[in-house]
Structure formats: C-alpha cells, structure tokens
Symmetry: C2
Subunit: 201 residues, 2 copies
C-alpha cells in the first residue's frame, strides 16, 4: 500500500470519475456529516459490465451492505469488497436523483442535473451516456423500509463528520461518484464529499 | 377493449416476448399457484429506454407495487400502470436468476439459463443481449425484508391458482416475461405462467 495520499474534494452537487486497478482501495468520506455520495462503476475491460444492485443484494441476502460484503457486476463478478465502513448504512435500491425526479418529487423547475446528470458528465469521456447510469450504490443514504407495507422513507444520513467507507477494487474499474444534490437525502444541506485512492502498487 | 382473448402459456423455465401498443392491457396469471414471472420491458421507440426498478420504487415510495402504482422507465416516463392485482405481492429489487446465480447460491452445475438467459433469448431478435437485462419486475415473487438489519428472505409466493396482475401499457413496448426457474422463488416446483394481451383497438 502506498504512503498517505491527499484527500480530493468533490464540491457540493457535482461528480467525479476515477480509474482503479484491481487491488486499489477507494476511501469515500463524508467530511461534514449527513451527506450522500452516489457511486457507480464499470469494468474498464468491457464497459457493458456495470455495478448491479440486484446481483449484490441477491448474493448478500440483504438490502444494506457493509464491511465484508461484496458488490457484484451484472455478470456476477466481484467489483468491490467493502473493507471498512464507519457509518454502516447505505442504500442500493434507488436510482440517482435527476432533473425529472426533482420535478416529480420536489416540484422543482430549476433543471438541476442531479446525481444522474453529474455521473453522466463524469463518465462522458468513456462514451457512457445518461441511459447507462443504473441504480447506484448510494453511500451514506439512509432509506428505511416498513417490513409490513414495503413503504420506504428517505431519512437524514446516519453519517457523522469523518465517517468513511473503504472499498477494494476487484477488477480494473472506472468509478464515478457524486456529492448528492437531493434535498431529502442530505437533510436539506448540500455539502462536499472527499475521496482518496490508495494504490496497490 | 377487444373480445375475450385466449390465454397463452409460457412453459416452465422458459420465456416469451410480446409487443404492446399504448393502451393495450397485459394480464399475467399464475395458473397453478406459487409461481413467479420475471418481467422486463423496453420502449419500442428507443430500446435504450427500459423498465427501471430504482425509478419506480422512488416515485411510489415503496418497495412492493400493486394496484394503482406506475412502473417507470429509466427516463422517468410511465411504462405501465397496474390496473388490477389479485395477489398483491411482487418483488422489484432482485436481478433475474441466472446460470451464475444458480452456481453461487444453489451450488448447481447444470448451466440452466435461468430467467436472465430466457429473457435474453426472448429479446434476442431485438438486439438486446444479456447485459441489457436489468433488475426485473418479479411478479408474484415474495421477498421479505427485516426492517432493522435489511436482511431479505425469498419465501414461497403468496399467489394462488388463478391470481393475476393486469398492466396497462403507457407507451409502445416490447415486453419479455418468464416462468421463473429459481427453486427458492417458486417453492421448489417449476410451473407455467399464462398471459394474454387485450388490445386497446
């Protein structure tokens, strides 16, 4: 593992992409608390292989993944292993917030791109357009479920300042992540997200 | 609405596709009880628009959709409205069963295609390969969630012989559906699924 690497900051309501090699570790931190980061990933060897919520939930037999769990691709291959997780609550059921979602759920007309647009912009140089953005791994997003009715509620994140998740890449990946733009997901305060990559070699 | 239309039968462990126009109604029936049908759909005007679990769950604010709920595309447009639902419990979180899923979860080595392979075969003439099969709307699939831990369990379907769901197409669609091949999802008995299309005109 390399020496200490500086954190990089994703400004509020924006996105970034980064390339990882197998064995690299990605640390995603909430520097101020109660801030979500939507993350998606694609195999650099074949961009048709992408991070799959449905596979990951099926193989883990749980909705909410944490330390020790594996995030799978649509081809049922491990993309990430969660090595550390100081928060313990993330969502893997919802699509990233989007211009249309802001209109439908919040009655907004500003046309903000949301995580969907910010992920697509971060991935545009790979030829991955907005239709290729799947259900994301929504780090620090706090979604509760009523076990009887299936009703969900988006609650303020449980993350506190400095909470982080450490993901080990299990294949060469292009990863995109955001500082999320949805009011309800972030307790109505748009904050940055920090990340760093610790190279395996 | 047209006169009575004959049911068509999807044999056990197989799939079918059908084209719908806006306003057509698709009835999917479990003729024997406790049998799942995985369903996915694409816009015939642009096959990059597909049925999205994450959008549908977000806009309905619940995991389990039933009568009156709308199934959305990745572009946040209505694809189906659920007009009737005599069962009331379906899943929208898991990817279709697959050859690799059978190996990982059941220790099977037979190489059965599963719903993933059967959906891809049913959609092959549209140029939609296996990588394009998303999280499906798993009709009659009974997944429970522990609200505290997020643990899920795949239980025998609540559907009884003759239970059905009636979906109205909200845009021109190509739909693929299966008689599901996963043991646990179908109480370890592989049965057929019946469907009919009632044309709007």
């Amino acid at each position: 593992m390399s020496a200490t690497v500086e954190m990089q900051r994703i400004p509020p309501c924006s996105g970034r992409s980064v390339e990882l090699e197998a064995g690299d570790q990605l640390v995603v931190m909430d520097p101020m608390g109660q801030q979500v980061s939507d993350l998606t990933a694609f195999s650099r060897e074949d961009l048709d292989e992408y991070l799959s919520s449905g596979r990951s939930i099926d193989y883990a037999s749980k909705l909410w993944l944490s330390t020790g769990d594996v995030l799978y691709s649509n081809r049922s291959r491990p993309m990430f292993t969660i090595l550390e997780d100081t928060c313990g609550r993330h969502d893997f059921t919802l699509t990233p917030c989007s211009k249309r979602m802001f209109e439908l759920l919040y009655g907004e007309a500003e046309g903000r791109p949301g995580c969907e647009g910010n992920l697509a912009a971060a991935l545009a140089s790979y030829g991955l357009g907005v239709d290729r953005i799947p259900v994301a791994f929504n780090i620090f997003m706090h979604v509760s479920v009523d076990a009887a009715s299936g009703a969900i509620a988006v609650l303020p994140p449980l993350s506190r300042a400095g909470d982080f998740i450490r993901l080990r890449a299990e294949m060469p990946l292009v990863v995109a992540m955001t500082a999320c733009s949805a009011g309800q997901s972030n307790n109505f305060s748009y904050k940055p997200i920090d990340f760093r990559v610790e190279r395996a070699s």
